[in-house]
Symmetry: C2
Subunit: 186 residues, 2 copies
């Protein structure tokens, strides 16, 4: 990777809800992206439940998911908080991504963020997500932390992030992820 | 519930693998069950991925899963540890179980246990599971803790629990769950 080549970022939303605030947060990231970055956003709807008995070979949707992570320069995950932790949907995807051969999160720069309608803004889920990602070999961006509480007030009815403070935090996160990606890759 | 009526326990395995040590641990529980208990063991293979958009009405498999919890006097969960936490499969099931109306884990006595091939015996996953269950209203049995490390040595080739020490721990857990269920229900 040359220092000035574009950084391909894979955005993963941990929620399957069509009007998900976490998917909307990734859309906001696309809007605020530094010029040096590209962002592809995916959801996890096509992944089957993880079962070791079914991994040889990986189901096609799993192979594609792993390949998207593998070819990305960095990953940006937006997680909901369900019952104090990350969604089962997201955890299940991380299971598939953690398996040999060549688990694709190994040494992968990853930034995390999240939005919730409550006041904690996914603070607890992000602790779990950071822990699990670190365990599977990802290089998780240490700072800044982006937690969006009261998401129903931060986004408008069309899912556009309108809270200016949050937009600033998100912009800072993306710039930090770009720097982190170049730093740990070189 | 009369003090001497049988206790119906629902056993849930967090792994989908056919030869899962956690499913085998539930089978061992069936074998060691106190006479006052009955145990039905289920897996989570039929549950779809949680999506708020698809919960009205609940999918049939979800409604059945919730009903099985609701009518049980107690629940016994055997969890694998995947990447320092519970499986996505199990977390996803707990999402479905956590939703209104009448989330079925509310005030439900629950015991947790787990088996792994490593040396920690699901210690980390159980911390997460206890936390999540408590959040969704379950009354989680405080003690004893049953963690089965090096499961490939504790079970024989037919999946029978042959380690006598572990069998004793499991027997103690079931007796404690019976007492806990009567205690918190009365």
């Amino acid at each position: 990777m040359h220092t000035n080549s574009p950084l391909r970022v894979l955005g993963i939303t941990g929620s399957l809800r069509a009007a998900s605030f976490n998917t909307a947060l990734l859309s906001a990231a696309a809007e605020l992206l530094p010029p040096e970055m590209t962002l592809e956003i995916i959801d996890l709807a096509d992944l089957p439940m993880f079962n070791v008995d079914t991994e040889k070979p990986f189901p096609e949707s799993v192979a594609q998911f792993r390949e998207k992570i593998a070819i990305a320069d960095a990953v940006l995950i937006s997680t909901p908080e369900y019952n104090t932790s990350i969604s089962g949907v997201l955890k299940n995807a991380l299971e598939w991504a953690s398996r040999a051969p060549q688990p694709p999160f190994t040494n992968k720069p990853v930034a995390i963020m999240g939005a919730s309608t409550g006041v904690f803004g996914t603070a607890r889920a992000q602790i779990v997500l950071r822990q699990v990602l670190t365990h599977i070999g990802a290089l998780v961006l240490p700072k800044p932390e982006v937690m969006v509480p009261k998401a129903q007030e931060a986004f408008d009815e069309d899912g556009k992030l309108v809270n200016e403070t949050t937009r600033g935090f998100l912009r800072d996160l993306l710039i930090a992820l770009a720097a982190w990606t170049r730093r740990v890759k070189e």
